[in-house]
Symmetry: C2
Subunit: 537 residues, 2 copies
């Protein structure tokens, strides 16, 4: 027997309609190197209609891909709605990818148009001859003086559209957005987010037990719109009518903090690197962030010391975890009511965990034999997940099978322990965990401990080949500027020995001025292994 | 092009799994006339498995209906999961319905089993001969001494089940629950909530911009589980792992307040009648409700004066609106950020509105010609809604067509004005609005104004036939006990004249000791019209 409920498709049209109808006067602000741009949801809505119409007149068909190559700004937001709501697919290109990967992705997705920020145009112009399917570049003028050539101008295109576009009723399983993983080891793999996934994800991000995005918020997504939908925040914010602030073409800490202060941001979101960079400025008391109620931090693990340092400034870091394959939200370190009365150190321990699977996401942890491990906070295993915003496969990719269990769960590739209270703590990536003498050493645990040392700014730990133990840990350490040249291997080793068994302690230390990072700002351990693992032994 | 997202069905199985897996130690407490019962989510989960297995062994087939006839308690919660999760349909019967309506409903839904609280058994035993399809009554022993006869005992049934039940994968559009409207004018009409509707509704209720149900909450649903799923709170609470408190077989104000105080309730939910009854006790300082962060109030409009009186006690009434046909949540009066700096009286005005359509629900207001009216806070029209938890039709009922627009929106039957900020304010029911000389008079506006008078406890306004004007308003007033016999028509009329045009003022006043109410506690204006409209003219 079926229910009598309406067949109401979960599409981005609902998200768009709610935001623009109920909150027409709320602001959308874009910062960056040029003058700050501001307009209202009403204007955004009007432009989305025109843009959709313009793309249709340009010949865009349902199902075709339009790529973007740009920063976080209001025109990117317009495309977030105009393209998917007409049944086409918005494909965000990561502006930091290697060039041959960009070529691979554009051709694999068979993008028909690419909309590119003028300041980023030179990269694409150079690659244009390698693109098989791209008909036209469309340029968003961000004030840069790069030559435009025969590319279309975004504003001219938009102006060519009609005032009203009649968005078609869509099947909620229609693809809305595409994104490729950052793929450090191989060609990137793509996922296509359905309308249903992104709409449900907007609900997920707005739950009280998740990021709690609300009409009371002013949201600054420092996380890029060119990767994993800026954590879905542009959609969640529109659904609930939050004021939106975009950093434009500058993610420099000073500009980000200035925006937060000026615009009264309540919810900031970004990778740890951003907040690590901002910390000294905040400690110097240069900015008033008294409107901020929480700072969502994810993308890679936020060090415990970072969370602690922000706590001391009265700034609440909310640790979140997700993946490109998950739209991306997976878990949030919510303030569990049982921990209210706990020792502050224990509370901080759990704040530094990846937290609980948000409603909508189911999580399990498997050992090497595919059996579920105990939720004891100690036993490591691989995290697998499923849910209505998790991908079932990679887009048109015969490498998919390895990433899914036989019963359809997504293998995250994260090695975790599950605490008895359901908190997930990431110990490592499957490819980064250090296998020493048949046991596992968590590179992440060592890194976090090192980064809690007062003389250390950043640290990454990699496994290097060892004849006797198979692998042994090596620490790559960036000292804080004032301790450059004075911090010693001995003091770090003594420091670590207070927390870890002797066989966990790094065998080698390497002091560097910076750590190589991937296109999305994570430590590039593949590069480190290639560069340093052989040299130092 | 379709997305690559998993086909993950939105069913109550996800709600159940999340609550029982992540929050096994959270409590579920049941009050009432007998001793308080308490157990954990873990035990609830174990019993749900046994119960599902027991029902299968009893021969229950997917799609078949199991009715309940009971108060709010933990066994009712067990059935909320065990029946729908095995693919059968839980049909909650309103224990306050007229007997011939109960017969109609049971036969119309073709219920196979009815699970009944022992204290309510006499009613059903009397009606049993009129039921066409019921094979067996199953009795939940609540300590009453009514004769059980040949009915099955709930606990014995449950004990006959296996420890584990393998819940089948369900289509998310499968019916999970059924409920019939309270139908004062005709035979009740039924809706069948799909798993998808109830799961999405659980997300809806847990949004920061809605009721914000969270793991931090202790939730007391005074709203009945026998009607409109207790506003979906048992499901939302389970999804997020909130502690749940049920009032059992007593909704008396003293017992409700005692439960709230003892169990540290943070979110209470009930119809205005409950909170009107509780007010004098709270004003007398008899209970410590310092843990309460909000009191959700809906079912019928909460008077402005009630909200104000609770505000003065430091208790935050959150006004919500919904309907049986909407699972039931439609709108919540959220604290709009623009109102933070407004005059307290203006803030109270909006708190007393029905609020904004929650994410998931789309709302429009139509005039008599089916055109959308201006959002000016003045123009009345009928509210129509749609969304993924709104019904598309009544269950197997040829009266459905009149309740839906030709393009599939549900006609709520509520006459509202829409404020420029998107706040819905209910002016009346289509059948209660008073048509006087070609203009509309809102009976609800007059009632609310009357109930704000210090000498008035309750007031209802109905239209009575008038030769010249077609209809004129008549006020039925229950004075506060201490003003019984002393409050006059003149002083109420003078009081109303400060706020309303002269032609709105009631033509007649009737002072009563109580107002007739429907089975769900709303003013029964149909009964009032039948009883009083003729007499007084």
């Amino acid at each position: 027997m079926l229910g009598t409920t309406m067949d109401f498709p979960l599409t981005l049209q609902h998200v768009f309609e709610r935001g623009t109808q109920l909150f027409p006067n709320r602001e959308i602000v874009t910062g960056g190197l040029g003058p700050r741009h501001r307009y209202t949801y009403r204007e955004m809505g009007q432009r989305v209609h025109r843009l959709a119409s313009a793309f249709q007149r340009l010949g865009l068909q349902p199902g075709e891909r339009v790529a973007t190559f740009g920063w976080n700004h209001y025109r990117h937001l317009e495309m977030y709605f105009a393209i998917p709501m007409q049944g086409a697919v918005l494909h965000t290109l990561n502006i930091r990818l290697f060039h041959d990967q960009l070529t691979y992705i554009v051709n694999h997705a068979a993008d028909r148009f690419i909309v590119v920020d003028r300041s980023l145009l030179p990269v694409l112009q150079k690659l244009a001859p390698t693109f098989d399917t791209v008909e036209k570049l469309i340029v968003v003028d961000d004030g840069a003086d790069c030559e435009v050539g025969d590319a279309l101008d975004y504003e001219e295109l938009l102006a060519s559209g009609a005032e009203h576009f009649d968005f078609p009723r869509l099947d909620e399983n229609t693809a809305a957005m595409m994104c490729y993983t950052s793929g450090t080891t191989d060609n990137p793999k793509g996922v296509a987010y359905s309308h249903r996934a992104l709409t449900l994800h907007s609900f997920g991000a707005s739950l009280a037990d998740s990021l709690g995005v609300s009409q009371r918020d002013t949201v600054l997504a420092v996380v890029p719109m060119f990767h994993a939908n800026a954590w879905g925040l542009p959609y969640a914010s529109t659904l609930v009518g939050a004021k939106q602030v975009f950093p434009g073409n500058s993610m420099a800490a000073e500009r980000v903090l200035e925006l937060m202060q000026d615009e009264g941001v309540t919810l900031g979101a970004g990778v740890p690197t951003i907040w690590i960079g901002a910390l000294p400025l905040l400690q110097a008391g240069k900015y008033d962030l008294s409107t901020v109620t929480r700072i969502a931090c994810g993308g890679s693990a936020a060090p415990r010391g970072l969370i602690d340092a922000y706590d001391k400034l009265g700034l609440n870091i909310v640790h979140a975890w997700g993946m490109t394959e998950m739209s991306p939200l997976g878990s949030v370190s919510v303030p569990l009511v049982e921990l209210d009365a706990a020792d502050p150190a224990v509370r901080l321990d759990f704040k530094a965990c990846q937290g609980m699977a948000v409603p909508g996401v189911e999580a399990r942890v498997l050992d090497g034999d595919g059996q579920q491990v105990a939720w004891d906070g100690q036993t490591m295993g691989e995290l697998i997940v499923r849910g209505p915003w998790v991908t079932a496969t990679y887009y048109n990719d015969d490498r998919s099978a390895a990433s899914f269990t036989s019963d359809g769960w997504f293998r995250t590739g994260d090695i975790v322990v599950m605490h008895p209270n359901g908190f997930i703590e990431i110990a490592d990536r499957t490819k980064d965990v250090i296998k020493s003498g048949g046991e596992w050493i968590s590179s992440v645990a060592l890194e976090n401990a090192l980064m809690a040392h007062p003389k250390v700014q950043e640290a990454a730990v990699i496994g290097v080949p060892d004849e006797r133990w198979s692998e042994r840990p090596m620490a790559c350490v960036v000292p804080r500027p004032e301790f450059k040249g004075t911090v010693t291997e001995e003091e770090l080793s003594t420091f670590l020995a207070q927390q870890f068994a002797k066989w966990w302690l790094p065998e080698h230390y390497l002091f560097l001025v910076e750590l190589p990072k991937t296109s999305v700002g994570k430590f590039d351990k593949k590069a480190m292994r290639a560069q340093y693992a052989q040299v130092s032994i």
